[in-house]
């Protein structure tokens, strides 16, 4: 009976490579961190959104509102390196970002206020007067 070549794997590193690929897949399937991180506060009439945007200039942030969706978009620019510079550590990330936040009510686009201080963006939103819930009095009789 002739020996089949399959008994001797042609590539002794095949298993090693398969394990390595499997590990890579696991590493890539973890979701990318969301940027910017936001905190949301609300009540029936208003909402406040606070986002951490360190290193982004106010001129690089775009805020837009349509119906009940608020979108924060922008770009975090990498610092310009002096000539001959090399990295020791790189923990921060750069590039374009977009984040859309759906609110429980329609937003009055004329009453949106945004402030940016020390890398923190604070947006105050109001619900239009006509859209607010009204309390109905019950009449006796």
């Amino acid at each position: 009976m002739p020996y089949t070549m399959t008994l001797y794997p042609a590539d002794p590193f095949a298993l090693l490579r398969r394990v390595s690929e499997a590990l890579d897949r696991v590493a890539f399937s973890t979701p990318a961190p969301v940027f910017p991180a936001v905190n949301v506060w609300q009540n029936d009439e208003a909402a406040a959104i606070v986002a951490e945007l360190p290193g982004v200039g106010p001129q690089d942030i775009d805020i837009s509102v349509k119906d009940d969706v608020l979108t924060i978009a922008g770009e975090r620019r990498a610092p310009t390196l002096p000539e001959g510079a090399t990295w020791h550590r790189r923990e921060r990330a750069f590039g374009r970002f977009t984040r859309a936040i759906r609110l429980p009510f329609r937003v009055d686009p004329d009453q949106v206020e945004a402030r940016f201080t020390d890398g923190v963006l604070r947006i105050a939103l109001r619900r239009p007067e006509a859209d607010r819930p009204r309390r109905i009095e019950i009449k006796a009789g």
Partner: protein
């Protein structure tokens, strides 16, 4: 809007003992750059005003602390949280050849930039060879 919480990359607790203030202490993300003159550190500390940053250099340990003064809206209730405002603290051990007196610090948009120049004699010098 998704309701599941995603951990922000910057929210790593600092390796520090417990604090007396009831705020978490985070380890700020850092970029470190080597230039010809020395090194440049960039640390992300959102919510920290320039006056609330403290940089100390003692026995070759460079410590950066940032205190966050965070006002939360009081008439509203929190419905979604992805980050927790807190103080920042991180320490680096330096090589001895930095000019302590010439360290510069600037804070812009929540990013602290520290410039540490090397002492003059430690800077690499190129020696030009003259043709005889």
């Amino acid at each position: 809007m998704s309701t599941d919480l995603t951990a922000a990359t910057s929210q790593t607790p600092a390796a520090a003992p417990e604090t007396t203030r009831n705020t978490p202490v985070w380890r700020p993300l850092a970029d470190i750059l080597e230039t010809r003159e020395g090194i440049v550190l960039m640390l992300e500390m959102p919510g920290v005003a320039p006056d609330d940053v403290e940089v100390t250099l003692e026995r070759r340990v460079l410590t950066i602390r940032g205190r966050c003064r965070h006002a939360e809206p009081d008439a509203l209730r929190a419905v979604h949280r992805e980050f927790e405002p807190g103080d920042y603290e991180r320490a680096f051990t330096l090589a001895e050849d930095f000019d302590e007196a010439a360290i510069q610090a600037s804070m812009k948009d929540g990013v602290l930039t520290l410039t540490l120049p090397r002492v003059a004699e430690a800077r690499p010098r190129t020696i030009r060879v003259n043709a005889a």
